[in-house]
Amino acid sequence: MKQSYSLNVNGTVHKIEADEDMPLLYALRDDLGLNNPHFGCGLAQCGACTVHVDGQPVRSCITPVSSVGDSKVVTLAGLGTPDKPHPLQAAYVEEQVPQCGYCINGWIMTAAAFLRDNKKPTDAQIKSALEGLKCRCGTHMSILRAVKRAATMMG
């Protein structure tokens, strides 16, 4: 049974009709046309679909749309813009991180929440915070350089 939901995404409230068990990912991609969270596994194993829900990184591929309620959802597109980039976005460009780039949402959205809450992290803390995220192209060394660069920028 399809029901009506209001979703607050990147500061705008959208109304959609969806099954209650439909994951948030499909609402964002198909109903709202926000292409940035990607379908990678549908199993919360890779992170390609990561968005912030009330500031916390969440795997939108297994988050039922009915569970989001009034929470504020922010996607990669809502994190920063070319004019006002989030430090991680600036660092990603500077370090030329991605190869295919399909995994970006997981790393940046997870690292953004981590760096917000952890100033001056050690390398081990950064790695631990990003554990489990997948990048199949093997850009991990660049990812770590970018997160460390962003950490420095964020003081």
Binding site: Y26, L34, N35, G42, L76, P85, P98, C135, R136, G138
Partner: protein, 765 residues
């Protein structure tokens, strides 16, 4: 070896005619302000209507826009290594225009000729070579046009920033834009008649002397990173067209089974859900993506009672050993008389190595959108070979190739012939069946479970040693599943799941390979044999190309074995290699890696360690199509847990002329991390019914907590040597370097990949 075939026909439609479709994907690449040629000579060299899109036309590669910017049309595409930057640098260099004024359009069948797609690390080696001669010819023609216009001999003209000027009088000048902007070159090239990677069509111009290069060799950054991090760039998964529906495919639980009964009523509660079933092909479509997914999971299907087609996984290597070979090939010239040399050897060293099936396991499962409208087919795909997919779509839809347009759009990762071409064909079959544009994305278990696999293999190696400790004979044999059960592209329905499930006749190929090195043993034979696939049709274990196809397998064996021989002779592993390796560039990369890593000469294994935590170092080296690479792994091994940490990797890399050092460095770094992953973790799991490694838990890859603390890449630049590839060569020695380091640390030789903790623990016990 591989069965790349010529497409039957190429579009003769002009770009102008195709322009409507182009705008959908990439915007008009040429600004069509049709200028009037102002003299007869220019009229002969330029035309207002684009000549046929054929490999023998300069206009098929290079165009000058009305504003003087350059469009470069490239029949290959970038898989994330920044190839388009390097090609832009080559074009800018030869044309004497600023790098920023060049835009490279990749892999669109309406604007490029078939240069082979992303294939065999030939993006620069072959594709860049062609773009270089095309750009050089364009410059020659433009200078000639300027000569006519300015009334000066061409040898008194120079070019800077796209402006041709007199060498003695900078005021006498004319710009590329004024000469031809908005018109097309009408220049015939000397095409070698080949399509794909070997396509070559030079003009009369000689490219520049590399000593004069100013753009080539610079670390210019990729411009496509920012659009990705600001979520402004569409992947092929993001493309939508009006009226589009979502498709999902349904695969059998027992490989080889086909649907006998499909209960359409079982999904009747799902809005718009529709079944597409023909023979073994079974899919669903629905207006909404989530509905299509639910329908694919909810549909009740009765499958045929197929005999489980596979051996149990534990019997895989015995199966390879005991199955009669379908084809044997001794590649290269056999040196001396190997069999006789072994008869007189003082002693013989032998070893056997094993490599499992591996999955592309791309970051996202493949996706494609196909629209069939008014007799024309448009396909958006992340394929590595759009021109070949065009041929495949034409064949499966029974439409002329001229009516098929494949728009390459970056996909969710690609490392060879992954599931992308299968998705394009499935989308086409669904779109034709339902009469609507269909976007198909596979589910994760299909992306990892049903992609074409890298082949499993065994490698039997022996060396004959004389009384003085010299290697007098070497015999290397791979026995394996073919690397091309399905071809490296989807140009033929029999090479795709759609074709195979629809029942087309099969033609599986035979191919493997041999070590690529320069060890000079007096008697030497390198050969391969392949066995038939376990299941001939629609198999989740069908093989095709995965990054550096068969390179990691073969060089795991050959370079581990060199270490075994060195250790047996109580020689340092590098000293041993330098004694037999003859190619000067090979020697140079080995020495460069050793120097950077601070290699201390001594035999392996180390004898100075006790306790559970030990460390070691290992070297391996290889060539690949002209490129040389040597690498040293430094590892920590926890004997108790079996866990290996590759702490540091040092790579020395020589691919001739370096076009972009930063792009090259990042490419090599990615290969190293992916290669460590394939070595430590990756193995397709299966039972007798199907592949059982279907997600990131069952098909684990290297985690960021396991990445090296340091990867040093030493780039050796040879501007005087034409560039060879870099996308894959550094993939091949990784496993051996790690195995050799583990041996150095533990004294135990691991001869089977992956080196997962369980496997290592059992090897050490």
């Amino acid at each position: 070896m591989t069965r790349i075939e010529k497409p039957d026909a190429f579009s003769r439609r002009s770009l102008l005619k195709a322009g409507g479709a182009l705008i959908v994907s990439i915007g008009a690449p040429v600004t069509f302000d049709i200028a009037q040629a102002d003299d007869a000579a220019n009229a002969a060299m330029s035309v207002a209507v684009k000549p046929a899109l054929t490999p023998d036309q300069l206009s098929s590669y290079i165009a000058v826009n009305a504003d003087g910017t350059i469009a470069a049309y490239f029949g290959k595409m970038d898989m994330g290594q920044g190839l388009f930057v390097a090609v832009g640098q080559i074009v800018a260099e030869e044309l004497d225009v600023p790098f920023d004024s060049v835009k490279v359009f990749m892999g669109d069948t309406a604007t490029s000729v078939n240069q082979g797609g992303a294939s065999g690390s030939t993006g620069i080696q072959e594709g860049g070579r062609q773009m270089r001669v095309a750009a050089a010819e364009a410059r020659r023609v433009l200078v000639q046009m300027a000569s006519d216009k300015l009334g000066m001999p061409a040898d008194q003209l120079a070019v800077a920033n796209g402006i041709v000027h007199a060498t003695g009088d900078a005021a006498k000048k004319v710009s590329y834009a004024d000469l031809i902007g908005g018109r097309y070159f009408n220049i015939h090239l000397d095409w070698n008649g080949k399509y794909g990677n070997p396509l070559y069509a030079p003009g009369k111009a000689q490219p520049k002397d590399p000593k004069t290069h100013t753009v080539v060799g610079q670390p210019i950054k990729r411009q496509d990173i920012a659009p990705r991090v600001f979520a402004q760039q569409d992947f092929c998964t993001d493309v939508k067209v009006p009226g589009m529906v979502h498709g999902r495919m349904i695969r059998p639980k027992v490989a080889g089974a086909v649907p006998l009964k499909v209960d359409e009523a079982s999904i009747k509660d799902i809005p718009g859900a529709q079944v597409v079933w023909k023979e073994g092909f079974l899919g669903v479509v629905a207006d909404k993506e989530w509905d299509a997914i639910k329908a694919s999971q909810q549909l009740k299907v009765e499958w045929s009672d197929a005999k489980p087609p596979f051996p149990n996984q534990a019997a895989l290597y015995d199966h390879i050993r005991s199955t009669p070979s379908r084809k044997r090939e001794v590649e290269g010239k056999e040196a001396g008389n190997v069999d006789d040399a072994f008869k007189t050897a003082a002693r013989v060293i032998k070893a056997e190595y094993e490599w499992p099936f591996q999955s592309h396991a791309s970051m996202g499962p493949a996706c494609s959108l196909v629209e069939i409208k008014d007799g024309h087919v448009t396909c958006w795909s992340g394929t590595q070979k759009s021109h070949f997919v065009r041929a495949g779509l034409a064949a499966i839809l029974q439409m002329p190739q001229d009516s098929v347009h494949v728009i390459w759009t970056p996909g969710p990762g690609s490392y060879g012939r992954n599931d992308a071409d299968d998705a394009a064909m499935d989308a086409a079959v669904l779109a034709k069946a339902v009469g609507k544009p269909v976007r198909v994305q596979y589910m994760r278990n299909q992306g990892t479970g049903w992609d074409p696999k890298g082949p499993a293999s065994i490698h039997q190696v022996r060396a004959a040693i004389d009384a003085q400790g010299n290697v007098v004979a070497y015999d290397f044999l791979s026995k394996a599943f073919s690397r091309v059960d399905v071809d490296t592209n989807g140009s033929k329905p029999y090479d795709t799941l759609a074709g195979q499930t629809l029942g087309v006749d099969l033609k599986s190929g035979d191919g493997f390979g041999i070590p690529s090195e320069s060890y000079s043993f007096a008697n030497k034979r390198t050969a391969w044999e392949v066995i038939p696939p376990l299941l001939d049709r629609a198999s989740p274990l069908r093989t095709s190309h995965l990054r550096d196809p068969v390179g990691p397998q073969i060089h795991f064996a050959s370079e581990s074995f060199m270490d075994e021989v060195a250790a047996s002779l109580d020689m340092d592993a590098i000293e041993f290699r330098l004694r037999y390796v003859k190619d000067p560039r090979d020697i140079a990369v080995i020495k460069a890696a050793a120097e950077k890593a601070g290699w201390q000469m001594r035999p392996s294994p180390r004898k100075d360690q006790t306790g559970d935590k030990v460390s070691g170092r290992g070297i391996a080296y290889a060539q690949r199509s002209g490129t040389r690479v040597a690498m040293i792994a430094e590892v920590d091994v926890d004997r108790r847990s079996g866990k290996i940490w590759v702490r540091r990797f040092t790579v020395a890399h020589d691919c001739g002329q370096i076009i972009n050092p930063d792009g090259l460095r990042l490419t090599v770094e990615g290969n190293i991390v992916q290669g460590i992953s394939r070595t430590l973790w990756e193995e397709v799991k299966f039972d007798n019914k199907n592949v059982t490694s279907v997600d990131w838990i069952t098909y684990p890859i290297l985690d960021i907590t396991e990445t090296p603390s340091q990867i040093d890449v030493v780039l050796i630049n040879h501007p005087e040597i034409a560039p060879s590839g870099a996308g894959e060569p550094s993939s091949r020695p990784i496993a051996a370097a790690i195995a050799n380091a583990v041996f150095d640390a533990t004294g135990v030789r691991i001869r089977r990949v992956p080196f997962s903790p369980d496997n290592v623990k059992s090897a050490l016990s």
